[in-house]
Symmetry: C2
Subunit: 450 residues, 2 copies
Amino acid sequence: MDINMTERALDLLRAKRFQDLKGLFSALNPADVAQIFEELPNDNESLPILFRILPKEMAADVFIEMDNDNQELLIRAFNDKELKDVLDELFVDDTVDLIEEMPAGVVKRILRNTDPETRQIINQILKYPDDSAGSLMTTEYVRLQKEMTVDQAFARIRATGADKETIYTCYVTDERRLLLGVVTVRQLLLADRTEVLQDIMETNIISVDTFEDKEVVAQLMSKYDFSVVPVVDKEKRLVGIITFDDALDVMVAEATEDIAKMSAVTPTDKPYLKTGVLETWKTRIPWLLLLMISATFTGMIITRFESALAAYVILTAYIPMLMDTGGNSGSQASVTIIRSLSLGDVDFSDLPQIVFKEARVAVLCGGTLAVANFVKLLVLDKLSVAVAAVVCLTLMVTVLVAKIVGCTLPVLAKKAGFDPTVMASPFITTIVDAMSLIIYFSIATQILHL
Amino acid sequence: MDINMTERALDLLRAKRFQDLKGLFSALNPADVAQIFEELPNDNESLPILFRILPKEMAADVFIEMDNDNQELLIRAFNDKELKDVLDELFVDDTVDLIEEMPAGVVKRILRNTDPETRQIINQILKYPDDSAGSLMTTEYVRLQKEMTVDQAFARIRATGADKETIYTCYVTDERRLLLGVVTVRQLLLADRTEVLQDIMETNIISVDTFEDKEVVAQLMSKYDFSVVPVVDKEKRLVGIITFDDALDVMVAEATEDIAKMSAVTPTDKPYLKTGVLETWKTRIPWLLLLMISATFTGMIITRFESALAAYVILTAYIPMLMDTGGNSGSQASVTIIRSLSLGDVDFSDLPQIVFKEARVAVLCGGTLAVANFVKLLVLDKLSVAVAAVVCLTLMVTVLVAKIVGCTLPVLAKKAGFDPTVMASPFITTIVDAMSLIIYFSIATQILHL
C-alpha cells in the first residue's frame, strides 16, 4: 500500500475537501482504506472524522479490517446510533471476535446496541472455548427445506441471501435443524428448475463439532478444498458455518505460533510493533531462564573434567564446534519432524521408520563432517592423529545421538499429549550440548588415556 | 482417516467383491479414497485394480489427490483411453502440476492424450516461472459480456459452467479479453433479471500479473479475503484465475519452507517419509558444513585465550551457558523479526524502531538473567565476586549484542535482496557464539587482570 495515499487523505482532510475524500475512499478496497487509517497520526481525532466520511456501505467492512486499538478508539468516539449502524452490518463471527478483544466497558456498549436476537447468538458463541470451531463460526447461512424445488430454493436465497456470509453453499435441515443435506448454487444452477432438493442434495456431509479444535478444522478444509464447512452440535443440529477466509487466518496464525514456540518465545497474537517492551520481555524471559538452568548442567560436566581439560587445553578449542554441530544436527531433525507432525505427514506409529531413517542420515552427515574435519585438523590445525581422531569420532557419535534425540522427542511429546513444538532447536540444543560433552570426554579419556 | 478402511478395501479386493468396493468408495470423499490408496501395500498391482473400480465421476478427483509416485504408477498402468478419460476431467492447473512432477516419458504420453487446445494452454502455462501466478492459475473461468442481462448471464453460466473451476465469480471482458469488470453470482441473484451487467459489475478490480510471486498472490488473497483473483498479462488481458484452495496450499507450503530454512535445512516439497535418505542428507549437509566452518572461528578465539583459560580453568565451565543464552536470545529476536517480515508487519523503514525496542527488551532480559545468575554463582557455585561479576557482565552484554544482531540481520538481508529466513537460529547462534566469547575474554581480562 502506498504511504502517499495516507498523506493524500490527510491533505484532503486538512483542506476540508470531504467530497474528494469520499471519492478517494470509494475507489479503494476496504482493506486498503483500513491500512490508510492504521497509518494515521495517533491524534485520536483524524480517525473518527475520516471514518464518518466513508460511504455508508463501506464503513463496517473497513471497521472490521482495522486493529483492535483503532476499533476501540472509534467505538469510544461513536454515538449509539453510529455504533448500531456498524454493528448491524457485521457478521456474527466478526462481532464475537471484536467482543473478545475489547475491554469490559466497551463490550457492554456493544451488547447494548445489538438487537436481542443477535445478542443471544453472540452470548451462545462466547461460551465456546477460544480455540474451538464454535468460537470461529458464523450463524449467517442459508437454510433450505428438502421439499423445495430449485426455483423455490432460488427464491429463498434471493429473499434471505443479502445478510448471509455465503450463499453459495446452502444447508438443507429439518424442523429441528438436523442437517440433512448440502446443496450448492452451482448444483442449483446446473439442475432443472423443477427438481426437488432432496433429489439433488449431497447427503454424505463432512461436518465439524462445535468443540473441535479450530486448527483441525482449518486442516480439514485445506485437505478437502472446502470453501465452507458446517458446524453441528452433539445432536447433529446445524449451529453455524466456518468459511475459508477464517480457515486461512487460522492457518497463518498457527504457523506464526509454531515458529514462535520453536524459537523459545511464548506466542502472542499481536503484531511485533504493537507489543510493548515489557510484554515482549514476558514472552521471552521464562524460556531464557529455563534454558540457562539446563545449560548449567553442561557447565557441571566441564567442571567434572576440569583436570582432563587442564592436561589437554587444546580440547577446549573444539567444544563450541562440537556443541554447535550437535545442536544444529538435532534441530534439523526435530524441526522437520515437528512440521511433519503438524501437517499430519507422520504420527506415533511411524516412529521406528523415522528413527531408522534419521540414523542413516546421521551416519552420512556425521561421516561427511568427520572426514572434512579430520583433514582440516591434521593439515591446518596440525593436531596429532590421536587428538584429531577424538574430535572426529565425537563428531560422528554426537551427530547420531543428536539426530535420534531430535526426531524422537517431538513424537514422544505429542504422544504424551504435550505440544511437540517446544521440542525444537532450543531444547534439543541444550540436551545435545550436554550429551556431546559427555561423548567428547568419554572418547578423549579412552583414546588419550586421560 | 481410519486405517481399517484400507484393510477393509483390501479384504473386499481379495474376496473380489468389486460391487461392495464401489459402494464403499462412493460413500467417501475423494480425498479420503486417495488416502486409502496411499496406504496400500507397494505391490504395483492393487492400486490400478482398485482405481478402475472407482465410480467414473470420482476417478479424476481421487487421482489428483494422490502423491506423485502413485500417480506415475497409475499412468503407467493406464491404457491411452483410460489416461484420456482422467485427463479430460482435470482442470488445467492440476494437469500442469502433474506434468511438472512427472518424468519426461510420462509427460509425453500425457501431452499426446490431451486435446490440442488444452495442450496449447498447458504449454503456455509451463513457460511461466515455477513460483509465479501464471504457473498457479487455471484458465477455466466464466467469461461474460458487458451488454448481457442478468438472465443472459445465468444462461451462459448454465451452458458453460460445468467445466469451470468456479462459477461464482465471473469476468466481464471485451473481444480482446481485456478485463472490464467482475460480477458474482451473488450480485446476479440479488439483482433484477433484466439489469445489464455493465450497470452492476464491479469495475474497481484487484488483479495480479502472470509473473507475480505466488506467495504475494496468496497474501493478497488472504488480506482481501478473496476466494478467487484474476490473473492478467502485461496488456491487462485476462489469462486465468487463481482460487483460494491453491492460495491455501501456497501458504502452507511457504510456512513449511520458512520453518525448514530457519533450522538450516534446504526445503523440499516432498513429505518426510517419502524423501530418501540420500536426498535428506543433501538438504542438510551443506548447512552443517558451513556452520561447522563458522564454528571453528569460535574455536580459534578460545585458542587465542588458551593461557588465560589455563590460569582460570573455572571460566571454561561457563562457556556453554553464555554461548547458549546468547544464541537463544539472538534467535528469539531474529525469528520474531523474520516472521514479522514475511507477514508484512515490519519492513526496512521500521529498523530504528525495532533496534530500539530490542535493546530495551535486551536490557530487561539480560538484567533478569544476570541477577539470577549472580545469586546462583555466589551461593551454589561459591565463586569469588570478581569471577561472578565477569560471568554476569558478559551475560548482560551478550544478550544485548545478540538481540541487536538478531533483529538487524534479517532486515538487512531482506533489504539486500536475500531471503531473511537463513538469518534464523543457526546463523545467529554461530555469530553470537564468537561474539560472546570475545566479550567474555575481554571482560575477564579487564576484571581479573589476566
